[in-house]
Symmetry: C2
Subunit: 344 residues, 2 copies
Amino acid sequence: MRATLIYGAGDIRVENVPDPVVHEGTDAVVRVLRSCICGSDLWPYASKPAEEQGDRIGHEFLGVVEEVGRDVTGLRRGDVVVAPFVWADNTCDFCREGLHTSCRNGGFWGAGDVDGGQGEAVRVPLADGTLVKLGVGEDSALLPSLLTLSDVFPTGHHCAVTAGVNERTTVTVIGDGAVGLSAVLAAKRLGAEQIILMGRHEARTDLGREFGATDVVAERGEEGMERVRELTGGDGTHTVLECVGLEPALDTAFGVVRAGGTVSRVGAPQYPTVKMGFPHFLKNITLTGGVAPARAYIEELLPDVLEGRVHPGRVFDRTLPLEQAADGYRAMAEREALKVILQP
Amino acid sequence: MRATLIYGAGDIRVENVPDPVVHEGTDAVVRVLRSCICGSDLWPYASKPAEEQGDRIGHEFLGVVEEVGRDVTGLRRGDVVVAPFVWADNTCDFCREGLHTSCRNGGFWGAGDVDGGQGEAVRVPLADGTLVKLGVGEDSALLPSLLTLSDVFPTGHHCAVTAGVNERTTVTVIGDGAVGLSAVLAAKRLGAEQIILMGRHEARTDLGREFGATDVVAERGEEGMERVRELTGGDGTHTVLECVGLEPALDTAFGVVRAGGTVSRVGAPQYPTVKMGFPHFLKNITLTGGVAPARAYIEELLPDVLEGRVHPGRVFDRTLPLEQAADGYRAMAEREALKVILQP
């Protein structure tokens, strides 16, 4: 089959790889209908050292179950399913606590002998625990929104949930990428009435407004923080959703969070330390968030997608054939595309 | 009257200062029955540059209302009251949210023209909001435990509450000072079943066991972390209460917190940055805590003290006359005394 590999920074190739087959009784093989490129795929795309041997890449996909191992009880050939971006048993203590990203038996797509998500098919370990049936057909118009359940929408949701967003909290979202916009949508869904989106790409912030942002702040740095404080009577917001992962974004988050408030981060941190000393202590600021246990949220978010109450798939602004994956990476890295679907 | 002043590191003096009088209609004057020395007083005692003019010091006291301003409605001469370590109006939005340390009209003892707590009397601003009536007499045997409501017990409680301690969480407490021991007591009171106390001063950890610690780990650094992990099946604890304020203690906290867990800090941070990068993100670790809004907790904790269900005053192991304040500081700095009461 064909699958995407990364050979180093800027070097994405679609090549022939072995067809996936059931190895373990708990495996399933899924034929991919749609996969997509994640903002976090852009970190290795920007900086991975060149290597002779490529690594499989991609961790967001939905597809059709083609084959199941003898121990798989909850899935059948033909089921249309979505995979969260970490596979997990969904039964261990961490999974039962909703922290599937720390599953005692789970792991990441593309690691070891596990397939990446950007290919024609994927061997799914622990298929009963990992996959969620969507109850739609292969040609559903909802596939893009359902694909966001793999990562980007639950990631925005995790950010909002861990920050404690509810109908009484004001919210700042930092970052107008697909995760930031999903965080806006999640905050709105959780009842927040004031959602300030910090971002300066107008097409994206316009979508942010449609998703529920009440204010957009295009300024950055000290000027941007001042603007958020102005919008909140000088106090900042109860919750700040940091959806970038770079240190200036986190600095901004601390600059706009209200005393007693919470900063949640879901952008993979590209920094080793956090400036969080005595001034933050004096204000009782909390830093939370982390890699989102998407699996924990899919059942909760799915009905809203199926019934059309939310349209998280609007973050996709380009669909390319799998063979053009390299072009998709380039377009996202150059911010020409917000988020790209790859269709085998 | 007589009051304690700090002139610089190691230089504590008890001197004559003006008698406090009611300035504002919302003031009260309280004659101090007991005050005490805080671990946080030891930071300036260790490092404050020498100055010609001394600064008033002390922020934990209880006493008798001697005089009230014309706008004070909830207090009368003769009431025995405790003061939280930050004065506050108890009516602004932050106070209503339980964050009295960020009160829009409050402030710190010993700052500006406000008295410090280690003296014979104190002018209390916003007395109706700040002071809590204790309903005991001047000679109550409970005064030491009631005095802890000023700071150390609510600080331990804040640490446990913000960490999310309950009957289902395992707990590590880092630090066997008065705050750490109070955190043990608070965690036990909130229902925690496993409470691991990290500390190496046996007299203190023995009191920690009486307060509810189920395990004591005397080792430090990597060895201590390994010991906590052994005690928790390799995982660490759901909550870690960091009651020291130094960077190695925070490093230890991150080393023993379970994936998905929370570190809460109530030791005033003596560091500008926190090592909290990608590994912590991957484990969904939360850092919370801060300066404790003692005022928010006094009404909740008071009945347990009055009815003898908890004895937080056991953290005091020495009582000195106010005139010997300097000796109290020395004894605490040299870890000869755990926590010292000053009695005018």
